[in-house]
Symmetry: C3
Subunit: 215 residues, 3 copies
């Protein structure tokens, strides 16, 4: 029996961390939904309203992150290793930051016509965040470890697929886009989205570490 398990007898329900992780994951999904929605809007002014919403979701994410860190620093017994709580929180935050970066770049770079690859990438990001949310909900009781593992495998597959989409898009871009300034803009946005899926995989790696330790 691990020390943590031992203490959990007396603290049967973690009333602090799990709800915070779940809020963080829900907020992340919200950001991913908005990114996808925004990219499907044709009118640039209407798009900007959603970009502002994404910024707010990102700020809400920062607040949750700080709340978890404060909790971590003032709590003696944690549901799993402090280091893993730290990494889970940070990696969740990184995914949302990159979703926000991609959205802000659309605005900053005054992108008018949305490339189909942007939409495709945003769908992959959305799928990855939904898998993250599923996995995090199950972390609470750890009864469905097989389901958590399945979500982690899915995140990994999504990341591989996003890699391929990114690589093909970049290869096309460098071959066909003669306007270097536009090329830089498109590449930046694609890179932000591709990194968001990389960071989703980092989240999945932390989750895998957590379940291995609890096994």
């Amino acid at each position: 029996m691990k020390l943590n398990t031992f203490f959990q007898i007396f603290v049967p329900k973690d009333r602090k961390f799990f709800p915070l992780f779940e809020t963080s994951a829900e907020n992340l999904v919200r950001g991913a939904i908005l990114l996808n929605k925004m990219l499907l809007i044709e009118d640039a002014t209407q798009r900007e309203a959603v970009i502002i919403e994404i910024k707010e979701v990102e700020k809400a994410g920062d607040d949750i992150t700080h709340e978890i860190f404060d909790e971590l620093n003032s709590t003696f017994i944690t549901p799993f290793d402090r280091e893993d709580i730290h990494r889970l929180t940070s990696t969740l935050d990184n995914v949302l930051d990159l979703i926000n970066s991609a959205a802000q770049q659309i605005k900053l770079y005054k992108i008018e016509s949305i490339q189909s690859e942007f939409i495709q990438m945003s769908e992959l990001i959305l799928q990855a965040t939904r898998e993250i949310e599923t996995a995090i909900r199950e972390l609470r009781n750890l009864k469905k470890i097989a389901d958590i593992k399945k979500s982690c495998i899915r995140i990994n597959e999504i990341e591989n697929f996003a890699d391929d989409v990114y690589n093909i898009a970049i290869s096309d871009l460098f071959e066909n886009e003669k306007d270097a300034v536009r090329l830089i803009k498109i590449r930046d946005i694609l890179a932000s989205m591709e990194m968001a899926t990389d960071c989703a995989e980092d989240v999945s790696d932390v989750i895998k570490t957590i379940i291995v330790k609890q096994a």
Copy 2:
């Protein structure tokens, strides 16, 4: 009473870490002053002399970093968590590295005319490093926790402001700069400076963690 507090009764003064942190913070401020000074020099040759000085400050920073790590690895009782000492040292080092990167890019890219945004960013970096220095000086006795918190809030505000300066500058750049090569150069330098303020916020986050734990 924490274990560290207990041991501190017998080791009332930390004779090693605090002076090293302070030296690191002073050296960082020195780098930020030189970056700002260099950007205000009109003559490119004179500028280059200061860029060489910045490189030296960055090397001095590396030496301090290694000294802290060696100390950490050979010391049993530390004034606060080893992990936080590690992170404080690394994040301080990152700020200085980015100050040096920005300076070296000015030289590498043979930038002749300095953009006003470069100067503005360098002033923000300088302010952030001064707040870092203030906060680190107070870490030693922790009597003025309110002051440390105030510095951390200021660093956060500076980072937000630097974000806005960066975003407006990038938006302008992509709209008006028709020479893509020049655009890349300017963007790189702005990005290095914006990342320096991000890293200053990382320093402030570690400091906040340290004071929460000691509270």
Copy 3:
């Protein structure tokens, strides 16, 4: 006597971690050899076959990384600090990732003529990985600490030299390359290779930490 040393009396040979570190280092050297070999091939189609091999080496590296992490999560007594094992594994992985990135960029960007600086950088990366392999082999018994230190110093020198090669190449590029799209491509590839040597230095830093603690 450290606790680890104490336990090592009863676990005289670490049968798990050292062979895995060595496999990881060997695999890294293999990647570096292939990168160098690929850049020396004149025919683009033949080059592509080696780029595919590099991708496979990178995947093999991922498998080793995951194996070490699984081992770490399920092992109670480790040959040195868990955190250092984690960092050693991650930093080794980062070097290989960047070797693979550089190789993939050559393909994605449809680079026809290989710049001499690419070859030079790949030689430096290869030297650095060989020094890493040497140092990691010696970690097992720690009898030749002077040799490990020598390798670390060599890695540091290689990184400094790679920095100079990179800076001169970038400076030349920005001065002479009028085609911005080509400039971006070349810069990306050089940056991947320069970062590979930075990451090699991170490996050397972890190794130095490990030997300081064991001393």
